[in-house]
């Protein structure tokens, strides 16, 4: 099991279970978590983050519903095979894209400038992932 760092901001308006979901998805997208990897146990995470275990149960089961995670009874939660729900993912990214478009326009950015920023982040994630793969190979 990897010792993942989760950061929970209880004062943010985002429900804690959503913060856990988002960070888990981020770890998968950046290659920190790989297919079949085990997520931290509910008890461990609840103690470490000082949050109600039910919140973690909710995050994991929502991740299971969207196919990102598989919960094996008595063993724990694992990154799942079918972590791709293309329709749902597009919907979710679409929302963020909309936000990005609105903010970029309000700040007076050109479309190309916003696209460049997205591309930069895209490349950075790829670099992080391949660096990690390199480290694991050693």
């Amino acid at each position: 099991m990897k010792n993942l760092f989760y950061h929970i901001d209880v004062y943010s308006g985002l429900p804690v279970y959503r913060q856990l979901m988002d960070q888990t998805k981020h770890y998968i997208a950046s290659g920190t978590l790989l297919l079949g990897d085990q997520l931290p146990s509910i008890r461990e995470l609840s103690t470490r983050l000082s949050i109600n275990p039910a919140t973690i149960v909710k995050a994991y089961s929502e991740l299971q519903t969207s196919g990102v995670v598989e919960i094996k009874q008595g063993k724990g939660a694992f990154v799942a095979q079918g972590c791709r729900d293309v329709q749902g993912q597009k919907l979710q990214v679409g929302k963020i894209a909309r936000q990005l478009a609105v903010e970029s326009q309000q700040l007076g950015l050109e479309l190309e400038e916003a696209q460049d920023l997205l591309e930069e982040e895209w490349i950075r994630l790829g670099r992080e992932a391949s660096r990690r793969k390199g480290m694991q190979a050693h």
Partner: protein, 302 residues
Amino acid sequence: MKAIETYDLTKSFPLNQVAVSGLDLSLAPGTVYGLMGRNGAGKSTALRLVMGLLKPDRGRARVLGKSMWHADRGHRSSIGYVPQHQQLPGRMSIEDLGRYMGRFYTDWDQDALVRLAKHWGMNPSLPVGCFSRGDQRKAALLLAIHPKPLVLILDEPAAGLDAVARRVFLDHLIDYIQLRPESTLLISTHHVGDIARIAQQVGMMDRGRLTRSARLDDLQDRMKKVQVVYPGKTSPSHLQLPGMLRKESMGPVTTAVCELESEQILEGIQLPHGARIQIFPMSLEEIFLELFNNQQIQANLT
């Protein structure tokens, strides 16, 4: 069976002060419920009514299916309560208090209590009067949870504790929830951060009434700040948004606080050409302040 259930629970004190009015609560087993409200909102009175320490003028309260006013010792032993201003007898140690309390329980494990007190960093043979404030609250919690109650009622359990002591206290509570996920917790507190960490449901009390009871993550998902930026120099005054609680305008910018079923609902809004709409999340503190303020505005109108 509900773990805690109240119906039309009402209590007034002399000089016609209504402390609790028409309180309906219903907590399923395994729920952690945070009761919030300003000082004097009636939280403590509500909890005392639930515990059967006060007799209601009207209505009823049941814990694990029975009224605490008539509960026998067996029933009471499955319910733990830590009142707001609990003073443990200062000359007694945790060992003494354990021996005393043990008489009311059939399966009191004194050795385990002593072990747990040490594990929590307290000397079980020292008079609790020598303890720091944080440790006194911890001792009260320890004695309340040691018999492994199915229902635990805590009235401002961490009030007056510093940040470190408060976190330690919360961690012990989380340990207990891990150990006994089937137990039900009813906690009154002012502390938004504590609520966010442990409560699944929140209730808000204002002048004796429960004005709102909801799942915490529902509230966070639904409460949003919506900003509309109009072209030109002013905002029209007629803006109506779904679930709008409040709005204010500054020049061409109107900011509204809305409770939205979903964000998509705003896509059908007709806005003048060139106006832009943007949705912002709200912090938990803002959400509570908005809901409390809104109640007050409504109360002033009625």
